[in-house]
Symmetry: C2
Subunit: 493 residues, 2 copies
């Protein structure tokens, strides 16, 4: 795309001026529509060093109220802390809220291109990352984001000229670093890698716009034009439904809830005490190994109210070093969370390598409570199964152990426990009116859960059912599964 890219002819001075004025006013007028529509706009500036990305960002934002945008400067290598998360993590942290702009001064492209040039990522990693980027860009679009990608293009000669001119003055010399000079020297090598990346990530919903950056004013005009046009289209599409993608992940077979026998899933106290002790010791050792081998572990709990999630989680955490794990209780999203991609609050709560995060309720709220209470549209939750599988695949590819538990009880057991909670002062905090309301929707929930388990039991992150009429049984089963999965991961290293 880059090599055979033909510059559109630059308008003459007067026309340029007139058009700039028009486009600036247009953008300025759009910001309120954007705010009202709750449209989040993510603008990625990539391209050659010294192509003027920063300067154009500086011009573009002059038309926007400072309350409505932020600039994310990602043009640097990830630091040590960030290296312990999936490579997308530091970018996803920065995605805008509904109704706001976020301008990325370089984004995931730059990191990958550098990786290829400096040989820090191999071919397979490149492929995997490009895939991850295509997935996340599509997911963002599907979830109502406008994603606009600019590639700032200048020739080798122009780049050289700019770098020389910066080096000429004492005041601007500091802006040039060794990497800039390296890039100019190896312009053609970079060109190949840029070219390939642009082609690999040129999606219809998040297409590339190549900006002729040889003239600064003209570059600004092009950016404004594409940006305004993108916003206008996106505003018209606000309520559009998105195609539901076919599942392409290998799936595991898990029975329907009604086919799960809860009988005989019991354990004597003696058996429990002895087994618990052995398993917790085993898990303690594995916890240390996981820490040393820097494996991230994610344990996700879902289950009926009063199924015994809390106590079950505790038997896991008791075996772990408190410095190495965290339990994330998930309630309904706060405003700043609701204003972003629904997976954002989970992305930002991921464990770093060597650590364990246990989610007490999870991203599956999307296809359960949010579905049933109408907190998202049908198209939203229908789409979510695949989006969640993609999310988990991303984590798996990163090297995470993912364990998903459904804690299962029957309706009578729930009633017994609700009443017990109601009648026991120390337990009353655990029971709310909402629990009783949810109970009335048991059958609807069961349908949703069956669908969820069927559609998200991928081979790499299947659901595990914990039969929990006898809580002891469920705890031992959970420990066994966690141990098995960690051991498997350790062997694969």
């Amino acid at each position: 795309m880059l090599k055979d890219y033909v510059h559109a002819e630059m308008p003459d001075e007067d026309e340029l001026k007139a058009k700039l004025k028009e486009e600036r006013a247009h953008l300025s007028a759009s910001q309120m529509k954007l705010k009202e529509a709750g449209l989040p706009v993510m603008v990625l500036f990539e391209g050659w060093n010294a192509a003027g990305k920063g300067a154009v960002i500086g011009k573009v934002i002059r038309n926007i109220d400072p309350r409505f945008f932020k600039v994310a400067t990602m043009d640097r290598e990830p630091n040590e802390e960030e290296m312990r998360y999936p490579f997308l993590y530091r970018f996803i942290k920065e995605i805008p809220e509904a109704g706001k702009f976020r301008f990325f001064d370089t984004c995931w492209m730059e990191e990958i291109v550098d990786g290829v040039i400096y040989d820090s990522i191999d071919k397979d990693t490149y492929k995997q990352r490009v895939h991850s980027i295509n997935v996340i860009e599509r997911q963002l679009c599907d979830n109502g984001y406008l994603v606009i990608k600019f590639f700032f293009h200048i020739s080798k000669k122009e780049q050289k000229k700019r770098l020389s001119s910066l080096l000429d003055s004492k005041d601007t010399r500091w802006r040039v670093d060794a990497e800039d000079l390296f890039q100019n020297k190896h312009y053609n090598k970079f060109l190949d890698v840029y070219e390939r990346y642009l082609e690999d990530t040129n999606q219809s919903r998040a297409p590339w716009y190549i900006i002729d950056a040889s003239d600064k004013k003209y570059a600004e005009l092009q950016v404004l034009q594409f940006l305004n046009q993108g916003i206008d289209v996106a505003l018209k599409n606000r309520k559009m439904n998105v195609p539901i993608l076919q599942n392409t992940f290998p799936m595991a077979r898990i029975p329907k809830l009604s086919d799960i026998s809860l009988e005989d899933k019991v354990m004597t106290d003696e058996e429990y005490d002895v087994t618990l002790d052995i398993l917790q010791k085993r898990l303690r050792d594995l916890g240390n190994k996981v820490y040393r081998k820097k494996i991230p572990v994610i344990v996700a709990y879902e289950g009926w109210d009063a199924a015994g999630k809390g106590g079950n989680i505790k038997r896991i955490t008791e075996a772990l070093d408190p410095r190495d794990y965290v339990v994330e209780p998930i309630a309904s999203p706060e405003p700043h969370e609701k204003a972003r991609h629904y997976l954002w609050r989970f992305w930002t709560r991921l464990p770093k390598t060597g650590h364990v995060t246990i989610f007490d309720r999870t991203w599956y709220g999307r296809v359960m409570v949010e579905r049933l209470e109408g907190f998202c549209s049908e198209n939203d939750w229908q789409r979510a199964y695949n989006e969640i599988n993609e999310f988990e695949k991303e984590l798996k590819d990163w090297g995470a152990v993912i364990i998903k538990f459904w804690v299962q009880i029957d309706k009578d057991t729930q009633l017994k426990r609700f009443n017990d909670r109601k009648n026991t002062p120390e337990k009353q905090w655990k029971i709310t009116d909402e629990d009783w309301r949810n109970r009335e929707k048991w059958d609807q929930y069961e349908t949703a859960i069956d669908e969820m388990i069927e559609k998200t039991s991928t081979a790499f992150a299947p659901w595990h059912i914990l039969e929990s009429v006898d809580k002891k049984y469920a705890r031992i089963k959970a420990l066994t599964i966690v141990i098995d999965e960690i051991e498997r991961a350790l062997k694969e290293r």
Copy 2:
């Protein structure tokens, strides 16, 4: 305190067991009271390496529901990113929410002691940091936090024994690092520094508890006893008022609002255009210098509704490199913000060194809207003046430029602008019912603002009044002040 510390006698095996059981149950029962009372509990574990801090944390949390606590592992040097913030930053980020525990596996003590031992901080810095710690611990307590500090004490001999035993086994060898051995070798040097720090930070509201850590079970018992006792006392004190401290900061004199003349504070369009251009160019240069010299800049805007904050801010940001600044619009706090110290959401929004953060409304909400709307108690906002001065002093000592603007108009001007907004479709988003309601309270606000300006115009962070009946005048004045303040800071470097 440490050198002349006499161990209480350890109870015998049976008594220890019985007491442990009792204290564990006590803690377990406390967690719900804590949740109901909204009491945040911050527990700091400091002390000798290999004294068993982690192990005891592990034991203590077994009595708490995993949803109600987190462990913050701070036992490492700050990373590059964290080094660009005030040294308290990475700890304050981790303070608990109301109703929850946060266990710090080492906290600010460890960093400072290491600094002294390894000569990375000098005497003055030590003093300053100890002062900062005393201030923040007192502020946390005053704002309803329970802060409990444990020092885990073992003898040189005991430490050596433990390290040797860890080194003996292949499975535990990795737990010992060079620093542990260094500490044991230089035990007495560390003892001196620990001793001094404990004395320097032993405050009545956040006292030190020295834990005899020679026996693990006994250490656990002591921790549980002090923790339970602390919680019981704190729960009884929930509604206690806190003494208002006398101001000890040097103050600047700023007139009352009613004494500020708004007449003649005008500017012709021509004058404005020329001056704006000159000043913005000047600020652009200074912005680069600030970036290169790694000076953090904080600009805080407060002012009447429709006073022209937005446009004023824009004239500043237009002159800055978009990669180096961020505008933080401050609305009412979200639930996770309301659940913490009211300055937490500002601490976590600080610029890093070399960057500019512009706050569009600020922490002064505490003594304006929160005061007038009763969102906090009278004791809360009375105390806030000093807390805010301390906060700003902390930032100043860190090296920040702090500029506080009050954007001033008269009541008639506001009415004119409100009506203009109401009648102009593109401006309607700027005017809400709340604005009209606030307008009715003009006089109450004026009283509060006068008091605020009087009590928080410290010599190091005075208020600047921007007379904004003519917005042009106010913008030029703001630019001039920002330029002056930055130039002053550059000279002081």
